[in-house]
Amino acid sequence: MKHILVVGNGLAGMTAAIRAAELGCNVTVVSKSEPARSQSVMAGGGINAALNTKGENDSVLSHAEDTIKAGVYLADEKAVEEMTSSAPSLVEGLAKRGVVFDRDGDGNIDLRNFGGQKKKRTAYAKSGIGKQLVSGLSSELRRKEAEGRVVSRISLRFVSPVMHEGRCIGAVFQKDDGSFEAIKADAVIAASGGMGGIFDRHTGSALSDGSVTASLFVKGAEAANLEMIQYHPTTIETPAKNILVTEAARGEGGRLFTMRDGKRWYFMEEWYPEGKNLMPRDIVSRSIHKVCMDGFGLDGKYQVGLELETLPKDTVYKKLMEVSELSKKYLGIDAGKEPIPVVPAIHYFMGGLYVDRFHRTTLKGVYAAGECACQYHGANRLGGNSTLGAIYGGRVAAETAVKECESVSLDVFERAAEIEVSNIIDKLSLHREINREVNAVKKLKRLMTDTMSIIRFEEGLKAGLEELAGFSPRDVYAPKNSSADALHFENKLILARAVILSALERRESRGSHARSDYPDMSDEFRKTTVACCKNGEVSIRFDSIGREFA
């Protein structure tokens, strides 16, 4: 029987595992922790589907057009159309599988407005869709476990793929006691989340550290559109991190403002009278950046206000319960009475492992879905499309993997795994106990967030590359029970280099990639940026959009 290994148990990973099990495979899902701890639970606003229950004449085509337009024509149109066509049945299916959605007066799944979309298309559950989706899918996964189709393994951290004749046949993981375990697979599906591990002040989970992406990239999986990093316009700054204020806050009527001449200046409404506060996220973030850089930051700081206090109390405290609660908890602000100070912060990576519309990576035997994969979102993601992309992509990845996977003998796997584990141990022995991995990563994160800021320019990017070259990967060590983190650091340095080089080579401004030295969009760059790593060296090329891998 075919055996599929899924790395990650968020929305993409769970969906992939469930689908592969439905198709008759045995599945092992491996993760650092339980699904309830995954970054997916943090999703706030909703999931997009043209359910067309609001009398607005919505359609899957309209959903596709909005997605492609918001992604500034970098997304694979065919892949997007397939996703949006599947969205209505997918969302209805989730509800039937027990995911709780808010309902309208007629008992339909309720829909709300979201940025960059003219129609009400975002199915939601108050402002905590992620938790509801994870709860529903976890139950389904549990049922598959009980049927004996799925085995969930936690407290295992991915270290590297096991390769044989150019094909991935499994992966090596590190356990809590520091020992290594290799798991054989006929196909591997990476569903390991975004690259938050090489940036600081982002809104994501500490578990989505980019180590799987970095490891696969160094082993030969190409990466795409790495420069496309979404700054979410509304986050609150806390001592530990930036916390997302869901776009639903503006979808429900929240307004962005700052003070000018002693009055509230609703700059988005003045600059974009049509889309107002619900323009796509890249535009809203750049507008906030401009307001603040022009000296109009609220209270003289790099921040603007989010006005919710004028909304009905029921909206603030019920529909936006999570927003009002986190504002109270982390800022001591009652959102029903005063505005919330917000700043843009890194929120989502549109780029990642280069996949085709069937979710194949360029590394044979490896498939990728969810935020670790570059698919659907182009140069800028629409709110409500990440949850959709993760679930739909996980399903497609599983279907492709099951169809194409090939088995190798246990002997072949054991030999290859032994070599891989021995390589890992050898590499680790070269590390000198000089800098703690946790601190080296902190410096890397600071550098990357500074370099890949909302507005980029050649000198800044080159300075980032130069500083990056100054890191000594072999001088980094981690405690014995997580020693492989030191290897991940080496990989992350290479991935970080690929991110900056991608930004440097894209000499235009498009979506979330804004260059002060190339402020205009150029047709020449309506292409996929592809980063490739060979023997630790990174090269960049541009591919036509929508390539398929054999």
Binding site: S38, V41, R436
Partner: protein, 229 residues
Amino acid sequence: MKGTISVKRNSRWAKFSIDAEANTPVTMILDELNSRETLLEADGSPAEPIVWECSCDQGVCGSCAMVINGSPRLACSAFFGEVGPDVKVEPLSKFPLVADLKVDRSSISKSLSEMKIWLEDDDALVSDVDMQYTSASCMLCGCCLEVCPNYSGEGKFFGAVGMNACFRTAEQLSGSAKRERLSYFAKHGDAGCSKSLACQVVCPAKIPLSVVISRLNRERFLSVFYRNK
């Protein structure tokens, strides 16, 4: 603000000197300790980095549940100004210890599997959306089990986390599948629960467990008398 944090490491307390703002969460304090080039206890003796779990760092995922100053709670939502200046942190005691503040909470998953916390077919009932939403917000953090006078980690009683999961599943099912879940509630929940409701007090997701339990009891009563419900 200067202070100390004492971390229970196996059976001994290790005390560290700290200096943090009042709005610093305990997660950030632990992170700062692990970032020190050389981690020394307050008495100057060297220490290994502290093992603990963290994911969302904003009170949604339940990873960082631990006992802080004697009460189970999420470290990301416990601020130094409130729990300091001398903070005591220790691992949840009703799960096997992995290391320092990290415990193995897989017993929760096992109990949910034993209670068949899933739907039998793809046709979930939509009834009380608000209560279903609240119930599904459970983080499986284990705080409720820590304070429960009846839960020991052994035996048939699965605690509030199990009863809450049973509630959501039973609400979405009907007929014999529903009755089966209600019987699990009786066996693994109600029979062992002395209704101290300490679980409700500490639940970081603010799940009204008294309502959950009373509604399950009502459903169970109805299912006995009205077999077709």
